[in-house]
C-alpha cells in the first residue's frame, strides 16, 4: 500500500482506517493510470521548485 506518510493525517481517522484494513479493503494498485500519476505529482509538489513547475500545467482556461 502506498501510504504517503508525509501527508497522512492518521489522527483524524486512524480508527476507521484500521477498521477498513481488518475488513479487507483492497490495497491501492500502484499501476493505476490516474492515481499513480497523481500520487507522483503530489510527492513532487513537496519539492522546493514546485511553484515553478505549476505554471506549465495552466494552459487551458476560460471559455
Amino acid at each position: 500500500m502506498d501510504h504517503l506518510p508525509e501527508q497522512h493525517s492518521s489522527e483524524s481517522h486512524g480508527a476507521s482506517t484500521r477498521e477498513r484494513e481488518h475488513a479487507g479493503t483492497p490495497d491501492y494498485d500502484p499501476t493505476h493510470p490516474v492515481l499513480s500519476r497523481l500520487l507522483e505529482e503530489v510527492r513532487n509538489e513537496k519539492r522546493v521548485d514546485a511553484a515553478y513547475d505549476r505554471v506549465h500545467h495552466r494552459h487551458n482556461r476560460g471559455r
Binding site: M1, Q7, H13, D27, V34, V42, R58, H59, N60, R61
Partner: protein
C-alpha cells in the same frame, strides 16, 4: 504555492469580440458591458506596450508565469498581430519559464497560424462541449447556427500538424448537465484530446446557472461524478484537470486552477485597450466587478506596481471565502469555496457559499469514497462521508 504579490497567469484579451454567440458566455451574455467600449482588436501600440510589460516582469520575477491569449476569440487579432506579439515575447521569454497558450474556439485556425504557434512554442486549447447535439445547446454563431463543423475543422487541422503533440494542449468544455457524461467523455477521447477540462456554467445566488433547479440541487456534481467514474475506470485515460485537481486535493496535494483548494492565484487580465483588470470571470457578478479602482494600463503602469498594491492583495484574498458556512466546512481544503463569481448575491456580495456548494460536496464526497475504496484511505485529508456522495 503562490505568495501574495506574485504573478501566476496573465490573460491577454487580444480581441474583445467573438465570432460565436454562446448563450452562457460570461463576457457577452452577462451583466458587464465594458467590452462594448473596447477596441475590437488589440492595437499595435498596446501590443508593443503589453510585450514590454511582460518582458519587464519576466526579468523581475524569479518564478515564471503563464501567458494566455484569450478573448472574445483571440485569433480575431489576425496573423500579423499574433506574429508580432508572440515572436516579440519569445525573444526574451523562454517556453520553459513562460508557457504561452491560446484558448480558442478553433474555427479560425489555419496552417500558417499553427506553424507560427509551433515556431513560438504556443500551445492551443480548443473549446468544445461535446458532440454536435451537446455542443450546439449553447455554442452557436451570431446567426444562431451550429458551430460544430467549423470547430471540428480546426481541431482536425490541429490534430494533423507535424507538431501536434506540442501544439494540441487539450479541450475545454462547459458542462451541459442534461447531457450524458459517458457520451461527452467518449466523444472527447475519440477526438484525440490530450487533456480535458470541464467548467461549470456561470451563475450566482441571484441568477441560478442553467440546468440547476435550486441551490440544494446537485445536477453538476452528479454529472462530474459520472465523469470521474469513467476516468478512473479507463485503462488509457487522458488527464482531466478538474478531476485531477479534486483527487490531488483529497490526497493533500495542490490544485492547478483557481477556484479549487485554498492556494491564492495571481491572475491579471489585460484588456484590448491595455487596461489591467482582475480575473475576468468576476464580471459575471455585476458590471465592473473585475475593475481595479486605480486606472492601471500597460501603457503607463508596470505589472509590478499592480502586484505590490493593497488593491491586488485584497483582490487575491477573495479566493478565501467569507462565509461562515465555508469556514466551518470539512471540505474547504478541497473546494476552497469555489470560484468567487459563484458566491455572489446582490444582498450579501461574496459572503455566501458557492451556488455550487452542494455540487462540490457531491463531487468531493464521491471522490473521497472512490479513493477510499481503492485503498487510499490513509492518504485522504478528510474521511469520506458516503451518505453525502452521489
Amino acid at each position: 504555492m503562490v505568495v501574495e504579490g506574485q504573478l501566476d497567469t496573465v490573460l491577454l484579451k487580444t480581441a474583445s469580440r467573438c465570432n460565436f454567440d454562446c448563450s452562457y458566455c460570461y463576457v457577452y451574455q452577462g451583466p458587464d458591458t465594458a467590452w462594448r467600449f473596447q477596441p475590437k482588436r488589440m492595437p499595435p501600440v498596446v501590443l508593443a506596450a503589453v510585450s514590454k510589460r511582460l518582458i519587464e516582469h519576466a526579468d523581475r520575477q524569479r518564478v515564471g508565469y503563464a501567458v494566455i491569449l484569450h478573448g472574445g476569440e483571440p485569433l480575431l487579432l489576425g496573423f500579423a498581430g499574433l506574429a508580432e506579439l508572440l515572436r516579440g515575447l519569445r525573444v526574451h521569454m523562454s517556453p520553459e519559464r513562460h508557457p504561452i497558450s491560446i484558448q480558442t474556439n478553433g474555427t479560425l485556425l489555419t496552417r500558417d497560424l499553427l506553424d507560427l504557434f509551433a515556431e513560438t512554442r504556443t500551445s492551443v486549447s480548443v473549446s468544445i462541449d461535446g458532440p454536435a447535439e451537446v455542443n450546439d445547446l449553447a455554442r452557436l454563431n451570431h446567426r444562431q447556427e451550429s458551430t460544430y463543423e467549423a470547430t471540428m475543422r480546426g481541431i482536425n487541422l490541429l490534430d494533423s500538424h507535424d507538431e501536434r503533440d506540442f501544439l494540441f494542449a487539450g479541450t475545454l468544455s462547459v458542462i451541459q448537465p442534461a447531457s450524458d457524461p459517458e457520451i461527452v467523455y467518449g466523444f472527447l477521447k475519440d477526438l484525440g484530446s490530450p487533456s480535458m477540462d470541464f467548467l461549470f456554467q456561470d451563475g450566482n445566488h441571484d441568477r441560478l446557472p442553467p440546468g440547476k433547479r435550486r441551490f440544494e440541487s446537485t445536477e453538476y456534481g452528479q454529472w462530474l461524478s459520472g465523469v470521474l467514474d469513467l476516468y478512473l475506470a479507463d485503462p488509457a485515460p487522458v488527464p482531466i484537470r478538474v478531476c485531477d485537481d479534486i483527487i490531488k486535493l483529497c490526497l493533500g496535494g495542490e490544485s492547478i486552477k483557481e477556484g479549487r483548494g485554498v492556494n491564492p492565484y495571481g491572475i491579471l487580465v489585460v484588456e484590448a485597450d491595455g487596461e489591467i483588470r482582475k480575473n475576468d470571470t468576476l464580471r459575471a457578478s455585476f458590471d465592473g466587478a473585475d475593475r481595479f479602482g486605480s486606472p492601471w494600463n500597460v501603457m503607463n503602469t508596470p505589472l509590478s506596481t499592480v502586484l505590490a498594491s493593497q488593491e491586488y492583495i485584497t483582490y487575491t484574498s477573495m479566493q478565501v471565502p467569507e462565509s461562515d458556512v465555508c469556514r466551518d466546512c470539512d471540505l474547504l481544503a478541497v473546494c476552497g469555496g469555489g470560484m468567487p463569481l459563484y458566491r455572489f448575491s446582490t444582498d450579501r456580495g461574496y459572503d455566501n457559499p458557492s451556488v455550487y456548494c452542494h455540487d462540490h460536496e457531491v463531487m468531493i464526497q464521491h471522490t473521497l469514497s472512490r479513493l477510499d475504496a481503492m485503498g487510499l484511505c490513509d492518504a485522504l485529508v478528510v474521511p469520506p462521508s458516503p451518505a453525502r456522495a452521489s
